[in-house]
């Protein structure tokens, strides 16, 4: 495929999804962020979390900092939204598991 403005060519893909992935990877790669958040009164000190959709790779570091500053109270349920629309990426930070109190 030929990119009209920049004369960039994508080759070697075997399906439409492959092409879309290659373009996304080239222009603005996105990643799902998976990390942990501090928990108060939890069965464990941390709960694993994720963004519910991929966010720009360039924003991962900033998102890590926002998440590091936050502490939530147990109990936590899998899928529970912990940060809404993190850094205006349109992605929410959600819990990856259930975590009970101490």
């Amino acid at each position: 495929m030929q990119d009209k403005d920049q004369q960039i060519t994508f080759e070697g893909y075997t399906c439409k999804r492959g092409l879309e992935y290659a373009q996304q990877e080239f222009y603005e790669p996105k990643r799902i962020l998976t990390t942990t958040m501090r928990v108060e009164n939890g069965f464990l000190p941390l709960v694993p979390i994720r963004t519910d959709k991929p966010i720009l790779r360039d924003k991962l570091n900033e998102a890590m900092k926002v998440i590091a500053e936050k502490k939530i109270k147990a109990p936590v349920k899998m899928g529970q939204i912990l940060i809404k629309n993190v850094l205006n990426t349109d992605a929410n930070v959600i819990a990856s598991r259930d975590l009970g109190r101490v």
């Binding site: 799902i32 990390t35 942990t36 941390l46």
Partner: protein, 431 residues
């Protein structure tokens, strides 16, 4: 001593044990899970990255999300489990001795046992790195547990030895947490984990990958202060003069996994060359009524494959209790399966020829990478009885072959040898 009986005991509440337990419970059998940790879930809980579940659930999940689905089923089905409980002995008569703080020593009799104890990481001792024994040397999975579950950071600047998936994923995880990963060092000429992880964990963060090198000296007495790495030749012998020093305060080892089979061995079950128990196509060990699944049997690439195998072990344990347990049946005949050229190991190790109706699933690993190859099965007379073309094989990707019993010459078959060989020229031209 407390003593009681159940139909099926499952040892280990990781991804394998939970899936097997759910399967057995669905047949209304009395099942009990024994787990040495303080919660259900196993190692998948500490794998907080995504990429799980694409086969089993057709969606991309993190490790905790994946295993939570099975934990929820265990609760919904009211499957009993004992936590903080360490199994110390299994007998041939399928009696188990275990200990925990509340009950002390307990004795449990069962009709069938499913082994789901998982695997262990190879340590520094397994690869013989010389030097002192300072603090700051961890296996990658151990560091993963500290960082993701316990909330401790093992160090600040890292060298990671081994480019397996856990090592690369930890490289990214530590970078995100603000640590510096100086290098991932790999003794082989190529990455031993998935390409996806090489791109998303190393290249995204400009973490150098140094292939054909290994750690040959650890510096520091109280705390590690650096490592010497050396280039290796084709026999993995170090090349004198190629040494480089890298300063670091922590060394992570991601140098392979070994099925954890002390209990299996001590029970008297035979082990095979991959470190897992010798099993037949029903995943039954050499002790009748004792089955094995998950990483205790063979180290898998994906948890989804563990789940699939565990469900099979569960089904076969049900079948054993319903049709074979307590009956005087004649000793089954077995066809032995052996690894041939470029095959590291093969599961199952033998095929039980009695009532062979279900499809047979072979899983194997190559010894070395190769392209344009044939995976073929040969009988005792060296006749090829099955062959399958593949574009490539690499040791880090398990090869799976499914066969219907009718595809095999059952009447004349005595042994099977599986080999991975380059395709003959004629075949290459056909593509």
């Amino acid at each position: 001593m407390k003593s009681f009986s159940v139909d099926v005991i499952i040892i280990g509440a990781g991804s394998a044990g939970l899936a097997a337990a759910v399967e057995v419970k669905k047949a209304n059998l009395d099942v009990l899970i024994l787990e040495r940790d303080k919660e259900l879930g196993g190692i998948t809980l500490q794998c907080i990255h995504n990429g799980f579940g694409l086969k089993e659930f057709e969606e991309e999940l993190t490790g905790p999300e994946y295993v939570q689905r099975f934990i929820n089923q265990v609760h919904e089905l009211k499957i009993p489990f004992l936590l903080n409980t360490m199994v110390i002995e299994i007998t041939k008569s399928k009696r188990i001795y275990a200990v925990n703080k509340e009950q002390g020593l307990i004795e449990i009799n069962s009709k069938a046992i499913i082994l789901a104890m998982g695997c262990r990481e190879r340590t520094r001792g397994a690869i013989n790195i010389p030097g002192f024994r300072p603090a700051g040397i961890f296996t990658a999975g151990q560091a993963q547990r500290f960082v993701n579950i316990e909330g401790y950071m093992p160090g600040n600047t890292y060298v990671i030895l081994g480019s397996g998936d856990i090592g690369m994923i930890m490289a990214r995880r530590l970078t995100w947490e603000g640590c510096k990963v100086k290098a991932v060092v790999e003794i082989l000429p190529y990455v031993s984990g998935l390409l996806r992880n090489q791109v998303q964990c190393l290249e995204d963060y400009d973490i150098p990958l140094i292939t054909n090198y290994t750690v040959t000296k650890i510096h520091g007495r109280d705390r590690i202060v650096g490592v010497t790495i050396s280039k290796v030749d084709r026999n993995f012998d170090r090349i004198i003069g190629s040494e480089k020093f890298i300063e670091c305060d922590t060394l992570l080892l991601s140098v392979g996994l070994i099925p954890e089979n002390e209990l299996t061995y001590q029970a008297g079950a035979e082990l095979s060359n991959n470190g897992g128990p010798l099993v037949d196509n029903n995943l039954e060990t050499t002790i009748e009524g004792i089955f094995a699944c998950g990483n205790v049997l063979q180290v898998h690439d994906l948890v989804d494959m563990v789940t699939a195998e565990a469900k099979r072990a569960g089904k076969n344990a049900i079948d054993y209790i319903q049709n074979r347990h307590g009956r005087e049946l004649k000793e089954p005949e077995y066809v032995k399966c052996a690894p041939g050229e470029n095959v590291n190991y093969i599961k199952p190790d033998r095929i039980n020829m009695q009532n062979l109706s279900e499809k047979i699933i072979f899983t194997l690993r190559a010894r070395y990478p190769d392209r344009r190859i044939l995976v073929q099965l040969k009988d005792q007379n060296n006749n090829v009885i099955y062959k399958k073309k593949k574009v490539y094989v690499i040791p880090s990707e398990m090869v799976e072959i499914e066969l219907e019993p009718k595809d095999l010459p059952l009447d004349s078959l005595k042994t099977i040898e599986i080999e991975i060989i380059p395709r003959p020229e004629v075949l290459i031209e056909e593509d």
